[in-house]
Symmetry: C2
Subunit: 164 residues, 2 copies
Amino acid sequence: MAETPGGENLLFLTDEQLRKGIEAMFFAYRGFTADPDRILEGMDYGRAHHRAIHFIHRSPGTTVSNLLSILGVTKQSLNRVLRTLIEDGLVRSEKGKVDARERHLHLTDKGQMLERELSDAQRARMRAAYRAAGPQAVAGFRQVLEAMMDPEMRRQYNRLKEGG
Amino acid sequence: MAETPGGENLLFLTDEQLRKGIEAMFFAYRGFTADPDRILEGMDYGRAHHRAIHFIHRSPGTTVSNLLSILGVTKQSLNRVLRTLIEDGLVRSEKGKVDARERHLHLTDKGQMLERELSDAQRARMRAAYRAAGPQAVAGFRQVLEAMMDPEMRRQYNRLKEGG
DNA sequence: GAATTTACGTCAGCCTTGTTGACTTTCCAA
DNA sequence: TTGGAAAGTCAACAAGGCTGACGTAAATTC
């Protein structure tokens, strides 16, 4: 019989059990972002910069509009972030060769260094959580998260997952 | 052998697998907040109001400072949210009888109605995800999330989990 | 070849939700 | 009884969302 850490039966989903899941998401997401937030505070950057850096690292050469659809923010909002990252020499933006309207984004060496620092911290926490919970739990974790996404986000997620 | 939806072995945690977990958290959290956000847009409220309403509902009569430690924001930030909720008649705040410095918070009937609407939507998504992933996955999901929290947050989470 | 569309950038201004600093009221302990 | 700590409030500022309007260069369509 499948059980939660608390030990209750999960075949019937009571509001109580669902509420625990909701609160678990809330508290866990705080932990999830805590380490990068700590690293970035003091620099002029925030969570928005982290997200941009993450996905540029993830898909080097990606275009601005592709990044927009992944991040789900407006171009004005993304542009503010990108401008500072480019000015500070963390991101390089170059005109597309096949389509010169596009801007292809790459991390500079300096950008790679910050990305490394941020993702090391985030991975360390994720690794610790995975180890504590065990491989079986990890599989379930990913399944539930994937099922929780909006279809459009799931498409983005899977495209990254495979393509990368 | 434990496997992810993608099918890879999870006994050895590669950076690649950890990165997928990180991105799953990112996209899933968007889904997690999407429905309440939609409901609240148009009203004068946002995610901060939702959080306050959730935890007041959860622990009726809780004090402002207790809420502060759960939400992890400054009291000034929380106060702004509470003020509008009280003005709009969703939350009732009453002076403590034993300690008159404290304010005990309750949802009014109107507040209960909004809480219901928000949590119905959020539970519906959670329920769908749980059903899609299955009971075993749900147990793993909760285990990993719990392991991902900061110790202080885990204390808060467990106190709510049991005590409630 | 002209008109339209696309990709990107920018300016201006607004809102939510975080922050710090300064303040009052209340409680408690020296 | 007085001084410090705790609870809560008010004011002002910053980050990072948002919309709307506009400009430019390149691609595409007619």
